[in-house]
Symmetry: C2
Subunit: 420 residues, 2 copies
């Protein structure tokens, strides 16, 4: 089946917001084994919307529309989609009750608001449509079907669209696929994208079913393995040897095969498993490393504090870096990274520490120490380990890569010394 | 003039990347006073690309194509655009020289690479095209013109596309506008979006020329004032009273009218002006506040260190929060925020400090202290100031809003006590 995406909203045409819905829905469609050839953005204009939706319905099997389901006059996606599909609008009792309930709750915490007649417009649905409940807003989603074509309407706000898609649309489309599509994610860190692709060139070149898709992220690469088969058991069986092969090739560089886990999730899990407490010590990343670890709910169990020792004085005071080290080797040096990590263990009483010092630019680079030079250290038990990196890109890119490299070093050290 | 956007790339259709180019180019077109009705994404497929580009050229005056200018077989945007416009490809001497120079430099730092015949494909351009130099890659941009229609081809990577657009395409399109479009940005912090819109409802409702567009960001709102006139002087003159009016209504909440400045830039500027040194003390934001300040090149002049006191023990050790305060009031309390900020001044020797403590969730909320409750403190001279916030959204959203609220409090305190 071929899917097509139509996003409705003047705010997209004005560049007020980035179309993250398109990326999300495209990835989901790929995961469902649907092909996608076109995505269109169109404004809240009846004539142009009618043209775009008609064209999409003509050339694709599944048309996903998002946005324009709100209560105002401007919101007319439902009306236009119904017209294209030749359906009239009728009131949906269930939707009316859901809107009433949602608004009753909402009004408790927003006593200054009132329910307007406009809200009831959202309870009108095209005849015969499947109504999708919206747990996070008042606009229900809809699925229309006619002449073998599916039109799926979703609300625009991502916090409404994503749960609705995951819980209701994904299973629906999955059940409509003639074959079962099953996929697994393999997340790899500590290997560059080009080197990784080199190492799986043969698998990519010979892929038919299952397929491998690579998604490059900063400092990591995600591999999605997808198989099509007549049932899930068969698809899982097809995927197994590929996962095994990847595990053989990338070993410990695979940090998870769990779709939902991030690198920081896995590092926090490892620390929890080993009952280790952590301190971060950052210079050029300026707190971005600790902030990323604290993304993980429950990180407080392992991360007790973070030190951002940006000035030389702070490096000396909080992490006991020697004056002579800063003078002779400089703040961006392997020795400083080492002393930062060791000193942090001393001045706190944690089990393991990770330090970052580097030149994020744009100024301050020299021939010997160019912008992008970063040292990352890790101290634990009686060991310290320091790695040197040369990153490309602007200030932000260098700092992002440093954060990932620090997570990777931390992970490597835990695996090496605590799990073996 | 009506502009239309066509982004080319299978990676967009698979959801591998988010289409940030579309948001950037849309905002630039709006700024140039161009209307935009459609945006399309299409894959690297000749037939479909031909269809999309033909349709765009038919219904719009300016078609901006991005992506698919690389050296591989898959990259065919230029070939298809030339076909649609009825132009044949010829070698461009200048582009050939530029590619040679770029690659010579590139190969110095990448001795394992070689120049392939494919690279020369990028020196072929449609007859009569204006060639746009690419300072950050090998694919030149192109402007084709025929029968009053403009087709503009840009490379896909944002670090190549953005400078090329800013330096070459923007001035070109600007010169083609029958009127001069001039716009100014007014950036406001410390007022919620809906309250701000309420306060300028009359200006928005009566707008014709100049116009006001609002762009809501986390914790701040940007207002773009755009005027059309026969020359720049006239446009500037039309904008002036509107800027004055906004300054009157929002006063100190306007942190800049400089397009390029961020809130953290302005806070760092203020600290530099007053020769103040800063320490951050963070709990729930976990370093995100210091990381954001360190986004600013040269922030090291003012931010000396940051403390992430995530555990109660770290709060006591590094910021001298009293045991009794933590016991009686809890870690998320006005008193803890105050003591964190004051203690940070004592344990470092900075002039001003800002502290954040709150409940980012998802767990840990109670009826008295729900998720989203955040206290932000600021200490300086003999003063301390604490503000209480109730933020909505998920863990990340609450932390993002906290970071902005901390920057705003810091700014308010400097303005109040050092600048008056």
């Amino acid at each position: 089946m071929v899917a097509e995406l139509v996003c409705v909203g003047t705010e997209l045409l004005l560049g007020n917001i980035v179309n993250t819905n398109a990326a999300y829905l495209s990835e989901m469609c790929a995961r469902l084994g649907l092909s996608m050839y076109y995505q269109t953005v169109v404004g809240d204009n009846e004539e142009r919307m009618y043209g775009v939706i008609s064209q999409a319905v003509e050339r694709s099997d599944v048309v996903i529309l998002c946005g324009g389901l709100g209560p105002t006059q401007d919101d007319m996606t439902k009306e236009v989609a119904a017209k294209v599909m030749g359906k009239k609008l009728v009131e949906d009792e269930h939707s009316r009750r859901c809107i009433q309930e949602y608004m009753d709750n909402y009004l408790i915490s927003h006593p200054d608001m009132t329910l307007t007649a406009n809200n009831w417009k959202q309870a009108m649905v095209p005849e015969g449509a499947i109504v999708l409940d919206n747990a996070n807003g008042t606009a229900p989603g809809l699925i229309l079907e006619e002449n073998g074509k599916l039109v799926i309407l979703l609300p625009g706000p991502p916090n409404e669209l994503i749960p609705m898609f995951e819980n209701q649309v994904y299973p629906f489309l999955h059940s409509r696929q003639p074959e079962v599509i099953y996929s697994r994610m393999v997340k790899v860190c500590g290997i560059g994208e080009s080197m990784l692709e080199e190492q799986i060139r043969d698998l990519i070149d010979s892929q038919t079913n299952p397929t491998i898709a690579t998604y490059a992220k900063t400092g990591e690469v995600h591999l999605r393995i997808t198989a099509r088969a007549e049932d899930e058991a068969a698809a899982k069986k097809m995927i197994k040897p590929m996962i095994r092969e990847l595990k053989e090739r990338f070993g410990k560089n695979i940090y998870t095969t769990d779709e939902k886990k991030t690198l920081e999730d896995c590092v926090v899990d490892l620390l929890k498993d080993q009952k280790l407490t952590l301190t971060t010590v950052e210079s050029c990343t300026g707190g971005a490393l600790s902030a990323r670890i604290i993304n993980v709910p429950g990180a407080s169990e392992v991360l007790k504090q973070g030190l951002v020792t940006y000035s030389n004085r702070a490096k000396r005071k909080f992490t006991l870096v020697k004056k002579s080290t800063l003078k002779d080797e400089g703040a961006v040096s392997a020795k400083t990274a080492k002393e930062m990590a060791k000193g942090a263990l001393e001045s706190t009483d944690c089990d393991i520490s990770v330090s970052v010092t580097g030149l994020a630019g744009p100024d301050g680079g020299t021939k010997e120490k160019p912008v992008g030079l970063v040292y990352i250290g890790c101290a634990y038990r009686d060991h310290t380990k320091v790695r040197e990196f040369h990153f490309n890109g602007n200030r932000n890119k260098i700092r992002e890569q440093s954060v990932v490299a620090a997570l990777v070093l931390l992970r490597d050290c835990i695996l090496e010394h605590y799990q073996s």
